[in-house]
Amino acid sequence: MGRLVCDKVTKVYGKGATALDKVSFNVPASGIFALIGRNGAGKTTLVRILTTELMLSSGKATIDGVDVTNDPSTIRDMVAIVPQEARLLMWTTPKQFILAYLLYRGYGYKEAVERAAEAVKRVKIEKFADKQSQHLSGGTKRKALVAAVIAAEAKILFLDEPTTGLDPISRGELWAMLNQLKKDHFIFLTTHYLEEAERLADMIGIIEDGKLLAIGTLDNLRKKVKHEYSVRILQKGINVRLREGEVVTGLDGHRQILTTEREANRISQGLIKRGIRFSSSPISLEEIFYYLTKKSIDIADEEKEGNGGWQ
């Protein structure tokens, strides 16, 4: 399997809005690559460029050595996409939709019919395969869309926020499916569910305001934050003396200490002795994301300077 390479990929829309700003990375085109970022960060724009729906303004992108800009027809044989807001046609059944998509991919009718029947079984929606989509749940519709691209046998699947709006069970089922698929496909996944990226992805990219902030495995990303552990204090008004690391306030308002494993253990023991509720764990992708984007973290420098005894 080849590599997905972006070299200073930039996209400026007509009115001068920069959606992507010199995005560069080079990852193996295998397993699952998750691009995470907030709404409007540039995830969908990058996906649309890589799937040849959208022209880039400058830079270069290649998949397995094939230039996305200059050789779109080869790319289109290689990739298949479930766009962010894709829906089934109201008057089609999942099987009919998958069949039509396979015909668009160029399969003969007979083979497309057989593949559509296999695809609904593969994603376990055969019970609903012949029901019109207007009578189906959001999860079933989403699975049908994923089934269509799986059945197409494209080696690279772009799934743009595939689990948005799904209930936890449907989401879990889709995750299980993606974990199976990654054995013989390269899946480029965008999501703003950080847990999803953490659970599924072999490689993770973090994008914010069109800029790629970090890329790597979860362990690589942890190193970029310089802190291995997080201690979350679940009670208010608690003072802790910190020897190393940083104190931040998460979105839930709880104080968090990002620090080394040794310091986390020391603080934890102190909190246990004082009977204070807390949780301690290796730093999560969510914490890495907040840390790197610096949008939701309130780094409590002032407090470290002596206000409240946090040092």
């Binding site: 729906e53 298949a80 668009y104 991919r105 046998e153």
Partner: protein
Amino acid sequence: MKRRRAMAVGNKRKSISSQILASILVSAIYPMQNFPIMLINAMLAPFSFLLVITFISHGTLLGVAIIGALVMTTVSAGMALQADLSHFKNDIRLQDMVVSSPTSAIVYIIGMGLSELIYFLPNIIILAILAVIFMNLTATAVLTIAVVMTIMFIFSITLSFMLSTLTVDIIQSWAFTNMVSTLLSTLPPVYYPITYIPMPWRYLAYLSPTTYAAQLAQSAAGFIALSPTNILADWVILVVVAIVMLIIGVKRTRWREP
């Protein structure tokens, strides 16, 4: 190179006929099969005008109205395409899935255009039967009407496709549909002879290519008398407008967004 071939598994099985069939299925067969009320809706517009004109004229304009309904059916088919394309592109994102597949823009539009023709086929069949019963058309008249219908169809689907690729929302698309509808179906004297429009309003009708199509069809069927020069001028205008529309369509249409 070997690796590239291994990933590009779709190359060998690119079948244009399958891709055209896909559009026909999603845009005509499945809606007709699963939601037949849409078929009735498609038939209403041309037939309602036909009935109104026939009643108002006490039957004297029945023949002209049948020809008008035939021409308008192809124009309506082309115009309906815009709403379908906009829905596929902006609402359900099917077009995004197709753009990043081996299907090309031209194959997609041919498939979608044919799907609209299939959708409106019952209209054409019923109108053709009415024409056989109530009119005495020569082979030349039938051929002329067929060619005129084809040109108007090509014109309207090209216009629809171009407009649909420029819109980002179905509401925008409706605005264009209303404009195009006024240009192609309200202004021109499709269901009656142009002489029924008083001067100077008649000049407005000449802004629409449908007027030339209707004149040629009405003249071929013997309802109005046109000089050979007028007939030639009408053909030239109709063909040139269709070609210009095709050129503009090819240049302005955005399959892959810039």
